[in-house]
């Protein structure tokens, strides 16, 4: 009897490692934006065994189809290189820690956070920024869809979000609503323009179909 009870208890305690108990134990927070897009960072291993810096070194970046030569300290991020050295301020700095996505650019076809990549590691890879997406007079379909659907308020997250949508649609040209909601989880909008952004992503997908837009 007593041994049976003891067995029962030990079974219970095993079963007691429930999801509830586990999550309570580690104190997991809400489900809000979490997953970063940092995988590209790991690829940027040094090309040679030579040590660069700490002073400025020559760096060449491929930005929007054009090579640009810069002299930068190795510690300068791609984001700061774009903003402070190329005056391309469409790419925004907001968290500077690879979370909010305001600095999203597309590098070698992948959506990345420019704040989390060193400029020196971005060499040799084509980089698309918001400035390369439109001309003075013509908006890219993704941008037009943001305007049509009021997918923006203060606008500070907008260029990053536009690039995230562009990169997302490059990979998923015909997305479902569910895919849109999951696929754009790497960007934060504090004004809460998400409803318009969801609509914009779906409309842009339609606009781009057949158009074969860059």
């Amino acid at each position: 009897m007593s041994s049976k009870k003891a067995t029962g208890q030990s079974d219970n305690s095993k079963a007691g490692v429930s999801r509830r108990g586990f999550i309570r134990g580690i104190g997991v927070g809400g489900s809000a934006v979490g997953s970063g897009i940092l995988e590209a960072v790991a690829e940027g291993a040094p090309a040679s065994s030579g040590v660069a810096g700490p002073g400025a070194v020559p760096i060449t970046l491929q930005v929007n189809g054009k090579p640009v030569k810069l002299s930068l300290e190795p510690r300068v991020t791609l984001l700061d290189a774009l903003r402070d050295h190329l005056n391309m301020t469409g790419t925004k700095r907001a968290c500077d820690r690879g979370t909010c996505g305001a600095c999203t650019v597309i590098m070698a076809g992948k959506v990345v956070y420019a704040c989390s990549i060193l400029a020196i590691d971005a060499q040799g890879k084509p980089i698309e920024t918001i400035e390369g997406l439109s001309t003075e007079t013509t908006l890219h379909p993704v941008q037009a869809a943001f305007v049509n659907n009021d997918g923006l308020q203060c606008g500070f997250c907008t260029p990053g979000f536009v690039m995230a949508v562009k990169g997302f649609l490059d990979k998923h040209p015909n997305p479902s609503y569910e895919q849109v909601k999951k696929g754009l989880g790497g960007n934060i909008c504090r004004c809460g323009a998400y409803v318009g952004i969801r609509r914009a992503a779906l409309e842009a997908a339609k606009m781009m179909k057949g158009a074969k837009h860059a």
């Binding site: 999801r19 509830r20 999550i23 309570r24 927070g29 809400g30 489900s31 809000a32 934006v33 510690r75 300068v76 700061d80 903003r83 402070d84 005056n87 301020t89 469409g90 925004k92 700095r93 907001a94 968290c95 500077d96 820690r97 979370t99 909010c100 305001a102 918001i130 400035e131 439109s134 908006l139 037009a144 943001f146 305007v147 049509n148 009021d150 923006l152 308020q153 203060c154 606008g155 500070f156 997250c157 907008t158 260029p159 536009v162 849109v180 909601k181 999951k182 754009l184 989880g185 960007n187 934060i188 909008c189 504090r190 004004c191 809460g192 323009a193 998400y194 409803v195 318009g196 952004i197």
Partner: protein, 715 residues
Amino acid sequence: MPDYHWPPMAKRRVLGKDTRRIDGPVKASGRAKYAYDVKHPGMLFAAVLTSPYAHARLKSLDTSEAQKMEGVTAVEVTSPPGTEIQWAGTEIAYVAATSESVARDAIRKIKVEYEPLPHVVNEEDLSKVGRNTKPAGERVKGDPDKAFREADVISEGIYGVPVITHCPLETHGAVIRWQNDRIEYFPSTQGVTDITNELARTLQVPATNIHTHQDHIGGAFGSKFSVDRWGIAAARLSKASGGRAARVFLDRRTDQEIAGNRPSGFAKIRVAARKDGALIGWESQSWGTSGIGGGGVAAVQLPYVFRNIPNQRVNHTGVVTNTGAARAWRAPNHPQLSFLTMAALDDVAAKLRMDPLEFFARNADLTDRPEVYRAQMQKAAEMIEWKKHWHPRGQSGSGPIKRGLGIGFGTWGGLGHDSTCMARIHPDGAVEVEICSQDLGTGTRTVIAMVAAETLGLNVNQVQVKIGDSSYPPSGASGGSTTVGGVSVSTRKATMNALQKLFDAVAPSLGVPAEQLEAVAGKIQVKGNAAKSLPWKAACAKLGVKTISETGENVPKTSVAEKLISQGVGGVQIADVFVDVETGVVKLNRIAAVQDCGLIINPKTAESQIYGAIIMSVCSALFEERVMDPTTGRFLNANMEFYKLAGINDIGEILVHLDITPENDSRGVIGLGEPPVVPTIGAISNAVANAIGVRVPMVPITPRRVLAALEGRNA
């Protein structure tokens, strides 16, 4: 005097029509320049050294090594030795240098000695704050003791909402060039007119010597009215560096720590009701913090919305904490008060086993607008299919995923502020409208263009809107949902006045007195007779070489009398949530919002305000919270990776109904930026209680708190 009234709804060509925001393209293309993006030739970058201690005396400070560094041009000490630091993140010294990296390197060379002092940084548990309390007094109405003696049902609970931050994506800061006695100022601000005068007063520079300019602002939510210490530091660094422009923008950590937050509100609440559901008594003992000033939520306004409960006892205690100071936060106090009240009332309804919809309708007479709230509840209930999905609290089936519905209420003012507009009509037909206002992302530019276009019979793209520059006529700061009322009236009056001048110039050619002219669809014509008309350009050509330049002013009192604007709106929201009782995760499924309003100028951007406001409060209900470490006194999640905000997949589906009716329209324009942020937290909290059968007393409703509530523990 011209007739400034808004045209009748049926005759409007522009107002009330969904209009794409006119600065949408410049923002979506990344060409929009924020103060954060301003770059002057030779501009200096600043970095700031901040205190790691929440409470300390600064014993010594040595900036000499930093000053000597190559590239450093100036050091501005803001906390000299002897200063008593009252919160972590307090600025000690700012350094200006030729690059941001150099400025940051220089900060590391500054030597500081602190004498740490005891601190209090948490206020949730009053028994642990020692003597850091400031009793704020008590208010009694009726005979609460009698009400509680005679009540059929008494419900009691403790509820709370912690401090949250504004967390605008563009942090706080400015670029300033102070050369000789002239200042060029590029702030990130909610009030271009006011901040210019504040800078003049603070620096003792004539306002005429200051030129302030702001095209766009990357979020503010109530936290960017003032020049602030960093603005002054930028000015002094510029001056000390021979007039080179200096840029000070806080980094994310510092911004979270010191650039504003929303006061917390905790309350022990007792509610007395009769069997039939009538509310007869309210007692609340609340506390909270606004930082070193004590403060906390303005509990004097409890109970919220249902404020005419006959018998009340309300008292409050401010808690002094060594934390960054609170600032106005979208609808100051209202979201917290709404949550505290609606949660407590919903708990009474549950105890009475009443359908909350019935319970709140039963008590709507205790609000200032019973009919509005009853109608809104009915509409929201239809939208969310209340009858189909509601069940008594906790009766949500046997599976691990529980569904629940909950209601929240809100109210707000929204009266237009003082505003002056200058409208110009040029002989070539070009129209420009100037106001020293600002567009926080609410769509102010577009509203101004729409009002001007409606008045002048033009299209929106024929009006050039100029805002955000101190050389334009003064306009109020954007706070309290006052902007749309202010700028719409000043624009209406200025363009109407200018149009009268144009009529005077055109009347002889059309052979009628000026009073018989109207501007319709790109023409100036004899009223009701399109055959007798001149196209806009031809009409303007009659001006010869003279430009018409007329002002118009919004004086709130006058405009209310003229029925151009008014104030006072209600709003009801119903949330529909799923709660996983195994993991504690709450998922917002849908939320329905019915929003009272006045004349809606642009439904498209008005709806965006409602979506955005709800999403902000979803963050507060489910995700965001300032976490202070009692040991170190630091703000542990002063960043964006652990300071949780909702992402695009966390907001469910938001259903919006704007109450656009002739009756509401006749009230004139009323601000809308704040009211919809108010009811959401209460609605979500009530929905969670309905789903799982117990109240999760504190927000944000994290998995940990859900699981603790299910197990009957506090969390």
